[in-house]
C-alpha cells in the first residue's frame, strides 16, 4: 500500500499548480460572495458554486486524461516502473492522487459553502450531500479519462470521456429514458447544476452506482495497462 500512497502524493505534488489555482479561485469566489449582499443576490451565489463544481469536474477530467501521458512524455515513468510496483498499483496511485486533489477542492468548496450557503437558504448538511455527489462524479469522470488515456492520446481520451459522460444527457433530453443514469455523472451533477434553496440532493443509489463503476474502471485500467508497452522505441 505504501507505494500507492507515494505515487499518489507524488502526483499531487506534480499537479500542485492546478490545485493551487483552483483553490485560489474558490477562495476568491467565497470572498466575493462574502462581501456582497447575499440575500439580495442568491442566484449569483448559486451560479458561482455551480461554476466551481463544473471546474472541479473539468480539472478531474484533465488530470485523468493526462496523468499517464505526462509521465511517458517526460520519461519519468521508467524510473518508477523499474521499481517493485505492479502496473495495477501504479494506476491505483494515480487515481488516489486524483482523489486527493478532488478531496482538497471539495473540502475548500465545502468550507466556503458552509459559510455562505446557509445565508441564502441552503442548509449546510444538504450541501454536504451534494458535495459528496460532486466528488464521486468527478472521480468517475477522471477514472473514465484515465482508462481511455491508456490507449488514446489525451485529447482523444478527453473527447471519448465527454462523449460517454454526455451521452446520458442526450438520452434524457431526447427520450426521457431512465437509462440516462447508466453513467450517472450528469444525473449526480444535476443537483449542483440546479442549486437553489429548494434543491434536493441526488439519491444514494446513484452515488453507489458511480462508485461501483469507478471500481470496475480501475480494475479494467489496471488490467489493460499491465498489458500495454509503456516504453516507446527510443533507438
Amino acid at each position: 500500500m505504501k507505494p500507492v500512497w507515494l505515487i499518489a502524493g507524488n502526483f499531487l505534488r506534480e499537479q500542485r499548480w492546478p490545485v493551487v489555482i483552483l483553490l485560489g479561485w474558490v477562495v476568491f469566489l467565497t470572498a466575493a460572495a462574502g462581501f456582497s449582499d447575499l440575500r439580495r443576490t442568491p442566484e449569483d451565489v448559486f451560479m458561482l458554486f455551480q461554476q466551481v463544481a463544473v471546474y472541479i469536474l473539468v480539472f478531474s477530467l484533465f488530470f485523468g486524461a493526462s496523468a499517464i501521458r505526462n509521465e511517458l512524455r517526460t520519461r519519468r515513468i521508467l524510473a518508477v516502473l523499474s521499481k517493485g510496483i505492479s502496473r495495477r498499483q501504479y494506476i491505483a496511485g494515480l487515481l488516489l492522487g486524483i482523489v486527493l486533489a478532488i478531496a482538497i477542492y471539495c473540502l475548500a468548496l465545502g468550507v466556503a459553502g458552509a459559510w455562505v450557503l446557509p445565508q441564502v437558504g441552503v442548509p449546510a448538511t444538504r450541501f454536504g450531500v451534494l458535495l459528496v455527489g460532486l466528488a464521486v462524479a468527478s472521480l468517475l469522470t477522471a477514472c473514465l479519462a484515465l482508462f481511455f488515456s491508456i490507449f488514446l492520446h489525451p485529447l482523444l481520451a478527453t473527447g471519448a470521456t465527454l462523449l460517454i459522460v454526455g451521452a446520458p444527457l442526450l438520452v434524457e433530453v431526447v427520450w426521457s429514458s431512465p437509462w440516462a443514469a447508466l453513467i450517472p455523472v450528469y444525473a449526480i451533477l444535476q443537483g449542483f447544476l440546479n442549486l437553489s434553496a429548494r434543491t434536493t440532493p441526488q439519491t444514494a443509489w446513484l452515488i453507489l452506482l458511480a462508485l461501483g463503476e469507478t471500481a470496475l474502471l480501475w480494475l479494467a485500467s489496471g488490467w489493460l495497462f499491465s498489458r500495454s508497452d509503456v516504453a516507446l522505441a527510443v533507438e
Partner: protein
C-alpha cells in the same frame, strides 16, 4: 554460475499499424548474464539494446520468446525489488536529491530509518552528499546521471542494469563510477552495462556482447576478444625491416603482424636470417575494432 538475466529467442517488433513501417527491434535475441559479472552490452544505435533492457524490466512484452530476471519471468514486480535500473537520458522528479532517493526507495518497499541511512550512503557513493538538499531540477547533466545511479542503488540491488551511465560524466566522475562498479562486483553484485563508451567497457567488463540488427553478433570474455587467436604480433631484432611485409622498425627492433597459423614458419625464417625473436604475442585489438568488425565489416578493414 547461475544466470541472473536470460533472453531466449526474443522477438520484438514496433509499429506496423497502417501508418508506421514495422521495425524488428529484436530478432531471435538470446543471451545469458551470469551472477557476479560485469557484462558489457554494446551495439550501434537501433541495434535493440534498450529494447532488450525494457523487456527485462517489464516495460514491454516480447512478441515471442522467453526471458527470466533473477530466475523469474520478466515483468514480475516483486523481482524488480532486487534490481536497480538507470535509464538512458535519465528523467527524475524535481525535488531535493535526498527526498528523491527516499521516494524511489519507498517504491521498493523500504522505509523508516533504514531508508534514510541508505539514501545518505548512496548519495555519498556517487559524490552528491554535499548537494543532497538541492533540488534535482537545478542539477547539471552529470549530476543528474549520478543521482540516477543513486536511485538505482538505493535498494542494494543484486542486479544493476545501467543504460549509458557515463555518457554525460566528466573524466573524474567516470573514474568514480568505474570504481563503484568494480566495488559492486567485488561485493558479488551483477552489473549489466549498456554503453557506447568502449574504452570504459574494456576497462571494467568481464564479458562483452555486441548487438547488431536485433541479434547478438559477438559474445565472449573481454580479454579473449581483445586478443586475436588468428593473428600474432612478432617483435624481433637483428633483421632488416624489409624482410617481412608490413614490418615497422624502431628502437632496434622490428615488429610485424602475422597469421597465427604461420607462426612456426615465420620464426624459423627470422632465425635463418640471423635474427633473434624478442616476443610473440596474440595481436591485441581494441574493442572499437571488434565493434566495427561486427557492425561495419568493410570499415574495420580500413
Amino acid at each position: 554460475m547461475a544466470a541472473v538475466l536470460e533472453f531466449e529467442g526474443i522477438r520484438k517488433q514496433y509499429g506496423g499499424w497502417f501508418t508506421r513501417r514495422p521495425v524488428q527491434a529484436l530478432d531471435g535475441f538470446s543471451l545469458s548474464v551470469e551472477a557476479g559479472e560485469i557484462f558489457g552490452f554494446l551495439g550501434p544505435n537501433g541495434a535493440g539494446k534498450t529494447t532488450a533492457i525494457h523487456l527485462a524490466l517489464g516495460f514491454m512484452r516480447a512478441d515471442s520468446g522467453r526471458g527470466r530476471l533473477l530466475g523469474r519471468p520478466f515483468g514480475e514486480a516483486r523481482t524488480r525489488r532486487r534490481v536497480g535500473f538507470l535509464a538512458e537520458n535519465v528523467a527524475l522528479y524535481h525535488r531535493p536529491a535526498a527526498k528523491l532517493v527516499q521516494f524511489y526507495g519507498g517504491l521498493n518497499g523500504m522505509g523508516g530509518a533504514r531508508l534514510g541511512r541508505r539514501a545518505k550512503e548512496v548519495l555519498e557513493l556517487v559524490n552528491l552528499a554535499a548537494d543532497s538538499q538541492r533540488n534535482v531540477g537545478a542539477y547539471s547533466r552529470g549530476m543528474l546521471q549520478r543521482i540516477g545511479l543513486a536511485q538505482a542503488l538505493v535498494n542494494d540491488p543484486e542486479l544493476l542494469i545501467l543504460d549509458e551511465p557515463t555518457s554525460a560524466l566528466d573524466p573524474i566522475a567516470r573514474v568514480i563510477i568505474r570504481e563503484l562498479l568494480l566495488r559492486l562486483k567485488a561485493e558479488g553484485k551483477t552489473v549489466f552495462l549498456s554503453s557506447h563508451l568502449l574504452s570504459e567497457v574494456e576497462l571494467v567488463c568481464d564479458r562483452v556482447g555486441v548487438m547488431h540488427r536485433g541479434r547478438l553478433a559477438r559474445l565472449g570474455r573481454t580479454a579473449e576478444l581483445l586478443h586475436s587467436r588468428e593473428q600474432s604480433q612478432v617483435v624481433a631484432r637483428g633483421i632488416e625491416g624489409s624482410a617481412f611485409p608490413g614490418a615497422v622498425a624502431g628502437d632496434g627492433v622490428v615488429s610485424f603482424t602475422i597469421a597465427s597459423i604461420s607462426q612456426r614458419e615465420v620464426l624459423e625464417r627470422i632465425w635463418s636470417l640471423g635474427g633473434e625473436v624478442v616476443s610473440v604475442n596474440p595481436l591485441k585489438r581494441s574493442l572499437e575494432q571488434i565493434f566495427l568488425e561486427v557492425t561495419q565489416p568493410g570499415r574495420s578493414d580500413k
